[in-house]
Symmetry: C2
Subunit: 312 residues, 2 copies
């Protein structure tokens, strides 16, 4: 049995407009890499970034601790986290580490868990970050592609995205508030109008059809959220302009990535993606905000690596 396993997991975009807490999309913009190594005792964390080193407050540490208890695994584990997904920008950074930890733990101890169980264990780690369990990012990080999550009971459905789908991400240089996801969840209305419910549900349904039929235009035109985006956009100075400019530059749909503040513009390989990225940066500039832009595409999920890259 191997004494260490390294798993790489992708960044992910949650919500995709109408699919709050339900939709996720794994993208090749950034990856985290987690190596689990058997040790004599305890859970220790090393990393290349500024993630918490206390296993009780680190998402990967929480996942490992929980799985260790659940499967009655003795001995210790060292968790080495190579964090490349910027945390706090709505790119599924904490989910990626949690997902990598769950998949690595499963492989290290040959548990043979299915993807739903892996998503469930990874989701527990997310709770530490967001305050509530939500599985959208972890599902995408584990399974890859476009994922649909149902809870009660947990069920994850994966669809293969169209090959020509491209996403321009604008990551603004903002001071992300502490416990951002918790704060942004508090902005969400407790009640929604029935007609708004139907509007979002119809766009969510169309988006699933778009992924199933590999129709990137339909996916883009389904990114229309009249419930969460209006409530959260005020957290992102310049959002309206970023969206407006990106659409004018040829994006088919624009929305907040997860809890933000990153903004994602959906388009196709054949579009002028440079133009869309520049337009998004100009939109942020109207609010005096600088941003980094990345053009990316959908990618696969958790990937077992033969060898961990040296991280420290």
């Amino acid at each position: 049995m191997a004494s260490s396993i390294t798993v790489r997991t992708p960044a992910s975009i949650a919500n995709l407009g109408p699919g709050f807490d339900v939709f996720g999309l794994a993208v090749n913009a950034f990856y985290d890499e987690v190596t689990l190594r058997k040790t004599k005792s305890g859970i220790t964390i090393i990393s290349n970034g500024s993630v918490p080193s206390n296993p009780h407050s680190n998402t990967a540490g929480i996942v490992v601790g929980n799985m260790k208890r659940r499967f009655k695994i003795n001995g210790g584990i060292e968790i080495a986290i190579r964090k490349m997904i910027p945390p706090g920008f709505g790119m599924g950074s904490s989910a990626a580490s949690a997902a990598a930890a769950a998949v690595a733990f499963d492989r290290l101890f040959r548990l043979g868990l299915d993807s739903t169980a892996l998503v469930e264990f990874a989701g527990v780690g997310e709770k530490a970050s967001a305050g509530t369990v939500h599985y959208d990012n972890v599902a995408a990080a584990v399974c890859g592609g476009f994922t649909i999550v149902r809870t009660d009971p947990l069920d994850v459905i994966m669809l293969d995205p169209p090959a020509d789908l491209r996403i321009c991400i604008a990551v603004p240089k903002l001071d992300v508030p502490k416990k951002k996801t918790r704060k942004s969840r508090k902005l969400i209305p407790k009640q929604v109008r029935f007609s708004d419910h139907i509007a979002n549900l119809s766009n969510a349904s169309a988006m699933v059809a778009g992924f199933a039929q590999k129709d990137s235009d339909l996916i883009g035109s389904s990114i229309h959220d009249i419930i969460v985006e209006p409530a959260r956009m005020r957290m992102i100075p310049g959002f309206s302009k970023v969206k407006d400019y990106a659409l004018k530059a040829g994006a088919t749909g624009v929305t907040i990535s997860g809890a933000g503040p990153s903004v994602v513009a959906f388009s196709k390989k054949s579009a002028d993606l440079e133009k869309i990225s520049t337009a998004m940066a100009k939109g942020f500039a109207t609010a005096g905000t600088k941003c980094m832009t990345i053009v990316c595409k959908p990618t696969k999920g958790a990937d077992i690596r033969n060898k961990a890259k040296a991280i420290l």
Copy 2:
């Protein structure tokens, strides 16, 4: 140019649980047939059933009148309606006649309208019946298969259902109240809890994936509606038992068909469909209600017939 056209349209199940006003499924349980024939003047209606003979209160008559005005068609039209879908039982009866009229009108005058335009014209006829425009049944009747409707702007997406999907319909012998659809729409809450919104949206998304992946079990397990069904089920005496018994007999999902009172149980060709139908009838019997049961499957949409069957 032909002087008469006959179009046959299927019964349809709207909502399918979480997809209120969005989802429709054409089924081969019953069909309406509408023949439009050019006459000298006016709009006249003949039928085999008890549909209104006044073209201003007949759904097909309203569609024809509206299209006649819109396309500035002179001369008269006789509308012969062979109504085979029982009206008032949630089987898309009025939608089928409206859809058949729209498709026949398009063909008779060689308008070359696309399916979205046909659904839009047919929807106007539905308004006369339901009090509000909704396109779920007319989309299924025009396009066939499983349909997703988005409005603003109107957009219809069709997915081919799995070949093994079967539906047991129980049509209870109840006195259907006048303007039933209007009344049942009034039962729907104006506001929904955010968590209920997400639950229904996730099941709706899973259902679309089920149709796209031709997974009848996933379709069945997605028939779970915590918003509309609880509000409407009290209109259907015995509903809880019908649902409970059908599930125990092997149905994968059970819900109200459209605005009811018909109840639909989803299953697969390989299941004991007779047992499910019997279970549904037993469920209605607990409330002292008799019902007719039909086993059916998805079907295609509007069908141009070479010859109308004699109806009178």
